[in-house]
């Protein structure tokens, strides 16, 4: 083909080669518009400022919390010994003694001020029981507490922790009352501790330790698996563990911490732990009322969400069904009835589901009734509109056939119309059921029942991300199961219509009844 031939073709088909201005510039114009709009939004939402203020460190920590948990031993410096303390609701139970915290015990002598209240000697953890018999007797009740107080000191001999070593992923922290050695990999830093005044490193700090001012707290990072703060009165270690702690039994359960085989044998054949009920019942109760995971409550709320979507969709379908016949202009000849019903549908679905949800939450009080009513009202409108459109698109020949044999109007609808539209109706209802399962999660957050509120509350505390993830997994599971059930039925229904479906899957069919 030479240049002439090409010109010849161009002359024969001017529409293909010299397209209109609009067609030529539509794509670049569209892209330009999108970019302009993006800049406008960046300004409107002041994206840059928000991104700048964002706390990205938190993001990492929160994400890590989804699949892991932290345990925080607090090692406090006393005069010549240490006390190790875990947070009150530690995931290790009431008597934590993990093997990654090595303790060195020794008999020490120390001065106890004989004050009325031995408050300074209070220690929550029980392994170093230094309340030696008869130690704090009130010899001098008038003595004020305080370091310089001329209280009559009493010497006590007892067994206490004098050194502790916390092992983390690739490092460790060795703590003695006035010396802290932090090791990570091959590097190691020794801190001198002047109690209640300063923390001083002996060598220059590597980049995984940060000290903002000389003598102040040193922040030690061990990467994902842990961090520590060396303060002038204590060393706090956060050690991170993968997994969900105490997922089945919480620390108050008698089954807590026992291996699976032991729990199983206890349930099957063990002696009753609680004489009033069997071990299986006790175990089930403990699982449901797990204080950290609240399985019972989560499942109940999830069931509420499912029920909201189900009832809302079913009732909406039932109500929309007769109304759609009223709204279809080829079924009901009255234009007034058509218009009134159609505007009613428009009203129902244009009042947002949120407004219905807020309104019914006021009406019925928080709970699934509010949510299901909101779904019911919105979807009566939507399904009614879709149903009536499906009705308006039916094939008239079947109706004519039925009418020609003298059937009553009801019979005409039953045998001439219904067989054509019922699969479409059902398929749309199924589709909305599936989609409502998702919506129900969201409107729950405004108080309309279901798991939404629980999810929202768990997120707002910023500490329960593992619980959030647990609920998300449950929701994803439910959504996938219902997706599959619904698309299975829709495929069957659409197959039974027997129309010319090529490879169109059920989904766009359901959404595009023209």
């Amino acid at each position: 083909m030479n240049a002439d031939a090409i010109n010849d073709i161009a002359a024969r088909h001017p529409d293909a080669f010299r397209r209109s201005l609009w067609k030529r510039y539509a794509t670049p114009t569209g892209i330009l518009l999108c970019i302009t709009y993006t800049f406008y939004c960046a300004w409107f939402f002041s994206v840059a400022a928000v991104l700048e203020k964002a706390n990205w460190n938190l993001a990492g920590a929160y994400l890590a919390d989804w699949v892991s948990y932290e345990i925080r031993p607090d090692i406090e410096f006393k005069d010549n010994h240490l006390t190790i303390d875990y947070s009150r609701f530690s995931k290790l139970g009431s008597n934590p003694n993990p093997d990654w915290v090595a303790k060195q015990m020794a008999v020490i002598e120390r001065q106890v001020e004989a004050v009325p209240a031995p408050a300074i000697a209070t220690n929550k953890s029980s392994q170093d029981s230094f309340m030696a018999p008869g130690a704090p007797t009130a010899e001098n009740p008038a003595a004020p507490s305080g370091q310089s107080a001329p209280a009559v000191p009493e010497t006590v001999r007892e067994n206490a922790v004098v050194a502790a070593t916390v092992t983390l992923a690739d490092g460790q922290i060795a703590v003695t009352p006035n010396l802290v050695t932090v090791t990570r990999g091959a590097e190691s830093v020794v801190f001198d501790i002047a109690k209640d005044s300063s923390v001083t490193p002996r060598t220059p700090l590597p980049d995984w330790i940060e000290q903002r001012r000389p003598g102040s707290t040193a922040y030690v990072s061990f990467g994902f698996l842990g961090r520590a703060e060396v303060q002038n009165d204590e060393v706090v270690v956060w050690r991170r563990f993968f997994g969900w702690a105490n997922f089945v039994f919480d620390t108050n359960s008698p089954f807590w911490g026992k291996p699976f085989s032991e729990v199983a044998s206890l349930i099957v054949s063990g002696a009753r732990i609680d004489p009033s009920r069997s071990n299986a019942a006790l175990a089930w109760d403990n699982i449901l009322n797990n204080a950290e995971w609240q399985h019972g409550d989560v499942w109940l709320k999830l069931l509420q969400t499912i029920v909201m979507a189900f009832v809302g969709t079913v009732l909406a379908s039932i109500v929309a069904f007769p109304l759609a016949f009223l709204a279809a202009r080829n079924v009901t000849p009255s234009r007034i009835a058509n218009q009134v019903t159609k505007r009613f549908f428009d009203f129902l679905r244009s009042v947002d589901m949120l407004i219905w949800a807020l309104f019914f939450t006021r009406g019925f009080g928080p709970g699934p009734l509010a949510g299901m009513s909101a779904i019911f009202f919105t979807d009566t409108g939507t399904l009614g509109k879709l149903y009536s459109e499906a009705l308006e698109n039916i094939d008239d020949k079947q109706r004519e056939g039925i009418r020609s044999v003298g059937a009553t109007p009801a019979m005409v609808q039953r045998y001439g119309v219904l067989p054509q539209v019922l699969p479409v109706f059902l398929s749309q209802s199924l589709y909305f059921w599936e989609s409502n399962t998702r919506s129900a999660t969201i409107i729950g957050a405004v108080g309309a029942g279901g798991i939404g509120l629980k999810l929202w509350e768990a997120m707002r505390t910023n500490t329960n991300w593992a619980n959030v993830f647990y609920m998300v997994l449950l929701i994803l599971l439910v959504v996938f199961v219902f997706d599959n059930i619904s698309s299975y039925f829709r495929r069957k229904l659409m197959g039974s219509v027997g129309n010319d479906e090529r490879r169109v899957s059920a989904r766009p069919r359901a959404a595009q009844i023209a």
């Binding site: 999108c34 709009y37 993006t38 939004c41 939402f45 928000v50 938190l58 929160y62 109940l300 029920v307 909201m308 009832v311 079913v314 428009d346 244009s350 009042v351 947002d352 589901m353 949120l354 807020l358 019914f360 006021r362 009406g363 019925f364 009080g365 709970g367 699934p368 009734l369 509010a370 299901m372 939507t382 509109k385 879709l386 459109e389 749309q428 589709y431 989609s435 998702r438 919506s439 999660t441 957050a445 405004v446 029942g449 939404g452 999810l455 929202w456 997120m459 707002r460 910023n462 959030v468 929701i475 996938f480 169109v504 899957s505 989904r507 766009p508 959404a511 595009q512 009844i513 023209a514």
Partner: protein, 324 residues
């Protein structure tokens, strides 16, 4: 059919009788399935209703007479008050309380021209919806080509793209919003991210189905003249599917307006937040103003989108559906 009917009917041949018997069996089984299905549905429905009633804070029949009370409470002092609330004009009832501080929220453009608060909030919600639809659509449309069997030959790429789209679609928006609220603190950005992410999944899934149904002949022609993958997609497939894509985009925009309203109500800004606050505090005029504004906006958006879609794809227009 009774016995006399059978007698009166003309005698059937042996084959005919077999066919009739089979047909009756089939009909009986179908009826059984229908009745069984309906009975199951009825049981499930009553069980669900009972359960919902049991776990609700107020019981259905106790509360039913009071449901409409809210409307009675919603009656404003006079019927111009909602209009004043809507346009941020000062109210004659202004007693310094939050209830009547209509001019408070004015957003001044110049010294004297202002946007009333709720219009500004509505604009914010609309912007959240439109912007996140735009972002979501960009990525969704890009990804959909990798999920379509007729464009992408690599099974694994297809498999992972599809799973990714599914997970992203099913992931509760509220969790994404809540997570980013924790990082960004209050504001519309978390809502934008949440809605965008969901839109990627939803539009990606819908559009790869469109791509799979595209006519492959233009693509074949381009392949014959040696076009590479990008050229084949851009010149062979995109022109065919673009009207549908835009139609889905518009549908999604309608849905996202609603979604961003709801997300607003849980703390992500926009009109949803104003609505929740005013309902919660019992500010009747403000509530009516917001509901009215929201209603009008949603109707307008729906009409606009339906009109555009109709122009784009004509009779084959996609009816309203919450196309996930």
């Amino acid at each position: 059919m009774s016995a006399t009917d059978v007698c009166r009917a003309p005698a059937l041949s042996l084959e005919g009788a077999t066919v009739e018997r089979h047909w009756r069996d089939l009909a009986a089984r179908r009826r059984l399935y229908t009745i069984g299905g309906l009975a199951f549905l009825f049981l499930a429905l009553s069980g669900s209703l009972w359960f919902a009633n049991e776990t609700n804070a107020g019981k259905f029949f106790d509360r039913l007479p009071h449901v409409a009370d809210f409307f009675a409470e919603l009656k404003p002092r006079d019927w111009f008050d909602p209009a004043r609330a809507l346009f941020d004009l000062s109210s004659p009832y202004d007693d310094g309380s939050l209830k009547f501080d209509y001019p408070e929220g004015r957003v001044y453009l110049t010294q004297s021209i202002y946007i009333p608060e709720y219009f500004h909030r509505m604009l914010e919600t609309l912007n959240i919806a439109l912007f996140s639809t735009l972002v979501g659509a960009t990525f969704g449309f890009l990804l959909c080509f990798f999920a379509a069997g007729n464009i992408t030959a690599n099974r694994w790429l297809r498999f992972f793209t599809r799973r990714f789209l599914e997970i992203v679609r099913a992931f509760p928006e509220i969790v994404i919003a809540g997570f980013f609220l924790a990082i960004f603190s209050l504001g519309p950005i978390p809502a934008i991210i949440a809605v965008s992410i969901h839109t990627v999944g939803a539009l990606g899934k819908m559009s790869f189905e469109v791509v799979e149904n595209a006519d492959m002949k233009p693509e074949e022609g381009l392949r014959a003249v040696g076009a590479n993958w990008v050229e084949r997609v851009w010149f062979g497939i995109v022109p065919q599917v673009l009207p549908n894509f835009i139609s889905y985009f518009l549908l999604r925009f309608e849905i996202n307006v609603r979604a961003s309203t709801i997300l607003g109500a849980v703390g992500a800004g926009g009109i949803g937040e104003s609505l929740r606050l005013s309902i919660g505090r019992g500010h009747e005029a403000k509530t009516i103003a917001i509901v009215f504004l929201l209603f009008c906006t949603i109707v307008a958006v729906d009409q606009l989108s339906a009109w555009l879609r109709h122009r784009l794809v004509g009779r084959q227009a996609f009816a309203y559906g919450r196309g996930e």
